[in-house]
Amino acid sequence: MHIERKEEYYVKLILHDLGEAFAELLTRKSDHMINANGKYAPCQGCFSCWTKHPAECFMKDELQQACRRLGQADELIIITKNLYGGYSTPVKNVLDRAIGTSTPFSTYRGRQMHHTLRYGRKGLWKVIVYGDITEDERTTFTYLAERNAVNEGYERSEAVFLDDIARLEAVL
């Protein structure tokens, strides 16, 4: 897939673990989509996406250039099943494989140390969480989304909790 970035255009990327369900809706509502299907290898922690072949994973699968896709987006919408107040394993797999969105250099953001951004500041980090969830897990997820937004250089974060995934369209 070739992605051309038009400066004046606001690009929306959806990362989800819904499989083929809602495919038509998700396509309609996004410019690009990453389907976290749970079939990818997890990150090996080698940092070669910074130090050897920048913005590219050494593993040659569909996630090899996932960070570049994330880099093209102004808004990221993550649709994920709740797991202990965090992302489902397949969604987390994609996030772990995409740290090439930043560079190896460090800076301060929100008075703490973070990496400088390969693709500059972004807009919204939005998380739509479905599945059974406790009050503590909601608190954790809201906090996690805030932390992710700061770490990844997004202006703001939003966490939406869906009791019924059928209501997805209303929150997209």
Binding site: M1, H2, I3, R5, P42, C43, Q44, G45, C46, F47, S48, W50, T51, K52, H53, P54, A55, E56, Q65, R68, R69, G71, Q72, L83, Y84, G85, G86, Y87, S88, T89, P90, K92, N93, L95, D96, I99, T103, P104, F105, S106, T107, Q112, M113, H114, R118, Y119, G120, T134, D136, E137, T139, T140, Y143, L144, R147, N148, N151
Partner: protein
Amino acid sequence: MKTLFINGSPKKRFCASSYFLFLQRLFVGGDKVTEHLRTRGDYQRILDQLPGADAVVFGVPLYVDGIPSHVMGFMEEMERSCREKGLHPRVYAIANNGFIEGKQNEPLMQLMENFCRRAGLTWGGGVGIGGGVMLNVTRILYFVQVGMLILNLLFNGISTGDFLPVGPLQSFLKNVLWLLYLNLGVLFYLIRMGRAVRKREEAGKRYTRILVPSFIFILFADVFFIILSFLEGGMFRGWLAKKVPDR
């Protein structure tokens, strides 16, 4: 009294998690088993170690403000396994992260705590350690210092007949004390947690870091990545460029 230590770093060797687990094991007695959780292929072997373990200590790196995906996958399986077999070990966590603030491990600790509630396990608390990569480097530097001292003593002994010269011994001691100083916060909290693990008690959540000012840490981290990117060639392949997808 079996304690199961699970190293959740995907790296084959030289991971910071293994360094902190090594230190933690020093302060925990009884029967100790350590397993390395790198891929799905490791799940079953480690699940088989759960029966009989009344404490489990996870050593995990912080990935994108949370737990690495292969460890989350394992925790799902562990929840299932503990429910099926009626297992209730106490769970502790030693998290380490690249940035200097240990406090950045807080979401990870909350995830662990929520996992324990879901799986019917008792959360024992944890230690979050900032500057994990650099602390891990101090362990190599320690061995480098020992090696250099031995060589120094040998050369000196052969050339002058004095096998215990004061100068090299003093500089060795000074350097080792420096390395120890950088690790003091970690040692303090791991000793405390070790005591709690021994007694199967709640340790609370504690955060610590390598003991250097953060602007100096950032300088070192930048130099570290500049050298690495030079050696691995990334510096010459559009190091900081906004690359677009090829496909």
